[in-house]
């Protein structure tokens, strides 16, 4: 067993932990830009995993997917978000509705919950347990961020985290889905973020603020 295999195996084994760390940091982050950076790190970790898998299972598709992840999630989307931030010239605060400490604790709780949740399946499916857990954790974390952060951009980031979660789930299957589908999903994602960016601008223009919790004209 060569060194690289070892590295790959290590990467796979420990990547979940890295993901959790990014999540906790996101929970405690105060500035949007921090979250964006964390997001791209998160994506990078995923890319690393995929590369590892690709190397392990020698599948070209996996390499393609990895490159996609790097281009779209690690580079394109963060860049797009930074552009938006710059041109918005709005304050960088994430406007959390929970204090940092609370957020971190909740996040930790969600991570534990996810382990509890996947337990039954991991057994039956002979899956890498902590990856699946990480997937769920990312899902929950994304939802949590969207619910607890009032800034429109944070919603976007939360959504991205959430989708990362789904993506990790795909990884957990250790089989890659048909390439077309993957590409389609990525494309959709990109479009989605782009659109949301568009709406962020519109919101800024029509409401002079970006606090989505203040968008409450339509109710009942």
């Amino acid at each position: 067993m060569g060194l690289i295999e070892l590295a790959a195996a290590k990467a796979l084994a420990s990547s979940a932990v890295f993901l959790f760390i990014t999540l906790l940091m996101m929970a405690s982050a105060k500035r949007i830009s921090t979250c964006i950076v964390l997001f791209s790190i998160q994506s990078a970790i995923m890319a690393a995993e995929i590369l590892a898998i690709a190397y392990a299972s020698k599948s070209i598709e996996a390499y393609a997917v990895a490159s996609l992840v790097i281009t779209v999630k690690v580079i394109a989307i963060p860049w797009l978000l930074f552009r938006i931030i710059k041109s918005l010239k709005a304050s960088q605060d994430v406007a959390a509705s929970t204090t940092g400490a609370q957020s971190v604790f909740i996040m930790a709780g969600l991570i534990l919950l996810s382990f509890f949740a996947v337990a039954p399946y991991a057994k039956t499916l002979r899956l890498d347990e902590d990856l699946l857990a990480a997937a769920i954790a990312l899902l929950l974390a994304g939802a949590f961020l969207m619910i607890s952060r009032k800034k429109a951009l944070m919603q976007v980031i939360g959504l991205l985290v959430l989708e990362n979660g789904i993506f990790v789930a795909v990884l957990a299957t250790t089989y890659s889905m048909p390439l077309v589908i993957e590409i389609g999903i990525f494309f959709d994602l990109l479009m989605g973020v782009f659109l949301m960016g568009l709406f962020v601008f519109r919101i800024r223009d029509t409401f002079e603020h970006l606090d989505v919790s203040k968008l409450r004209r339509l109710r009942g």
Partner: protein, 657 residues
């Protein structure tokens, strides 16, 4: 032959609206649709009569058109109610021909002539349907069309409120009816009447009772039994008079039809408590109905309440039938059923007569408030006389149709004393007392109505200037009055076919001969009284017209007569518990405290049911809704939270279920 007539009858009812819309432009043929409708109804009368007296069956199956089986069958029961519809419908249409053109602008008239046939058609559908789908189809349309007809008279705030209540309660009743049909489902493969009939045998008693209760509530609401009567006095009076006539006289009867269909035809009777329930409902409805009528001085609302009362009487008959059946005295049960059905027919005859009369009066005096009438008999002879006949029939005076049905019901009650079960033997005869009490109060009510509206001095200018209405109207009313008299003197003509009908509904051989003995007596009594009257009237009398004695004071005026409120006061005090009226007396003084400039007395009676039953229900729904509304906060993050929670909840459910 009859089959063809039957089909063309239905087709015609369907076509006439189209014809109306075609004819509206041309003034020469504007009247065509109404006369066509009249002819159609006469044809219908013949068809129904054939099937009612001869017992012939007619059938029409349209299932090939519709997604669900849609079959129409005329057996004796359906024929009876079809006859009822046509017999009442024809005079009403005749009346309308004159009424409409005086009251409505051409457009409104067109609306009426479009809607009226459809309304009739929907009622016909209900009574001749032989599948659940057809029945419900007609049932729902009946409500919609009647509401549309009510709207012709205008859409003021109050009217709309009443219509709203009407439609809501009808929708609820329809739901109950639908339920009572569908409860047959697992046992009856398809919802056509024959298979439903067949399925009952296999059903457990609980299910049957559920069906019975559902149909009791559903049809009861349509029929207007207390406490589901709320809509009736609100909806009937505000319709155009011919329509009120149809609603009160015919539409209510479709509910009776449905109830009879279910309880007697499908379920074939049940345990005694069904009967007790129906009896109770009948008694309460009858009493409260007539007591509420006593306080009214809006003529049409009074008549509406008296419809409630008569429905109560019909339910008394039905209840008696159920109880007697349950205590295996089938012959008398049949008699009671006959009585109930006969009263349904009678009520539709005299009630339509009275509502048409009310229409004629409101046309002559431009009011329906009897306090502003008076002395109309001198000014509108024919109307006055036929209206009198209507009043006499509705309070069940002998030699008129109302008496016959009440007589048979009373006989059935008395026959109840023969039953072995003690409770029945006590209860049924006492019910006769209830019926008598209802009758007694009815006498007071209609003495008041007729006395105040038609007799004495005119109580207002418009009453003084009232003139007789158009001939068509008079003829229409006269026809109804005549039928009242004929049935009253020769009840045999309807009693015998009804007996046949009832006995093959109940699968009983023959009626106790005593049950119909009245049919033999009445003609003789009629002859005897007629002779006496002729003899006495034969005497030569010298008469002189003088002024009414005014205790030596200068001439009296209309305001000095007993008003309708004054007339009913003694009885109202006796039953003051029922009314819980909230009265207001405000006096404006010229000089405190002696010289009152004006005294106004207002007594508003909102039925306690409205306060204690319906208001709370509505309020509950609305408050629940407003509370739910708060959940839609407008904050997107909360929305996300909902999704999130839904997901978590489902995951847990999945885990532990």
């Amino acid at each position: 032959m009859m089959q063809i007539a039957f089909n063309s009858f239905l087709a015609a009812l369907l076509m006439i609206p189209a014809i109306t819309l075609l004819c509206r432009r041309d003034s020469r043929v504007r009247a065509l649709p109404s006369w066509l409708l009249l002819l159609t109804l006469l044809a219908g009368t013949i068809v129904a009569g054939f099937s009612f007296w001869r017992g012939g069956r007619l059938a029409l199956d349209l299932s090939w058109v519709t997604p669900f089986p849609f079959a129409l069958t005329v057996d004796r029961l359906s024929a009876f109610f079809l006859l009822l519809i046509c017999v009442v419908g024809a005079p009403v249409v005749l009346f309308s021909t004159a009424y409409v053109e005086r009251h409505y602008s051409p457009t409104k008239a067109d609306w009426l002539w479009v809607l009226l046939p459809l309304f009739l058609l929907s009622m016909v559908l209900v009574v001749i349907a032989s599948t659940a789908f057809a029945f419900l189809f007609g049932w729902e349309l009946m409500t919609l069309f009647s509401a549309a007809l009510i709207l012709i008279d205008g859409d003021s705030e109050r009217r709309r409120h009443n219509i709203f209540i009407y439609l809501m309660m009808m929708h609820a009743s329809a739901a109950a009816v639908i339920a009572s049909f569908f409860l047959f489902l697992p046992n009856a493969s398809t919802l056509d009447f024959t298979s439903m009939r067949a399925a009952v045998a296999a059903m457990p008693m609980g299910l049957r009772s559920a069906i019975f209760l559902m149909s009791f509530v559903g049809f009861g609401t349509k029929a207007g039994i207390v406490p589901f009567h709320l809509w009736l006095p609100k909806a009937h009076p505000i319709a155009p008079s011919p329509v009120s006539a149809l609603m009160s006289a015919v539409m209510l009867k479709t509910a009776i039809y449905g109830f009879v269909r279910f309880t007697f035809d499908f379920l074939g009777g049940g345990p005694a408590w069904w009967g007790y329930l129906v009896l109770l409902a009948g008694a309460v409805t009858g009493l409260l109905g007539i007591l509420y009528a006593l306080t009214e001085h809006d003529m049409k609302r009074l008549l509406a309440y008296s419809s409630v009362e008569n429905i109560g009487i019909i339910y008394l008959g039905l209840g008696a039938a159920l109880v007697l059946m349950a205590n295996n005295s089938p012959a008398w049960a049949t008699a009671a059923l006959v009585a109930a059905l006969l009263h349904a027919l009678n009520h539709s005859l005299f009630k339509s007569l009275l509502f048409l009369g009310a229409g004629a009066i409101s046309e002559a005096t431009h009011t329906v408030d009897i306090e502003f009438m008076g002395g109309l008999l001198k000014r509108m002879k024919i109307t006055g006389i036929v209206f009198l006949i209507g009043c006499c029939s509705i309070i069940g005076l002998p030699l008129l149709n109302g008496f016959v049905s009440e007589w048979v019901i009373l006989r059935a009650f008395i026959a109840g004393s023969e039953l072995t079960s003690l409770s029945c033997a006590i209860l049924l005869p006492l019910m006769a007392g209830v019926l008598a009490l209802i009758g007694g109060i009815a006498v007071a009510v209609f003495a008041k109505l007729y006395g105040v509206a038609f007799l004495g001095r005119p109580r207002s200018l418009q009453a003084e200037e009232a003139t007789e209405v158009a001939t068509a109207m008079q003829v229409a009313m006269a026809l109804l009055a005549a039928s009242c008299v004929i049935i009253g003197i020769l009840p045999g003509i309807v009693l015998n076919p009804l007996t046949a009908l009832a006995s093959d509904l109940m699968h009983t051989a023959a009626l106790p001969e005593a049950a119909l003995s009245i049919a033999h007596t009445l003609p003789w009594v009629a002859v005897c009284i007629a002779v006496l009257i002729i003899v006495i009237a034969g005497f030569r009398r010298i008469t002189r017209i003088t002024a009414t004695w005014a205790c030596g004071l200068p001439a009296l005026n209309g305001r000095m007569q007993y008003s309708s409120a004054a007339f009913s006061k003694p009885l109202r005090t006796v039953f003051s518990r029922v009314y819980e009226a909230d009265r207001t007396v405000d006096v404006h003084y010229a000089q405190q405290p002696y010289f009152a400039k004006s005294i106004t007395y207002r007594s508003v009676r909102t039925t306690s049911f409205e306060k204690s039953l319906y208001r709370p229900a509505v309020d509950m729904i609305v408050s629940l809704a407003t509370r739910l509304r708060k959940l839609q906060t407008g904050n997107m993050q909360v929305y996300l939270l909902y999704i999130f929670l839904a997901l978590v909840a489902l995951l847990l459910w999945m885990r532990f279920a």
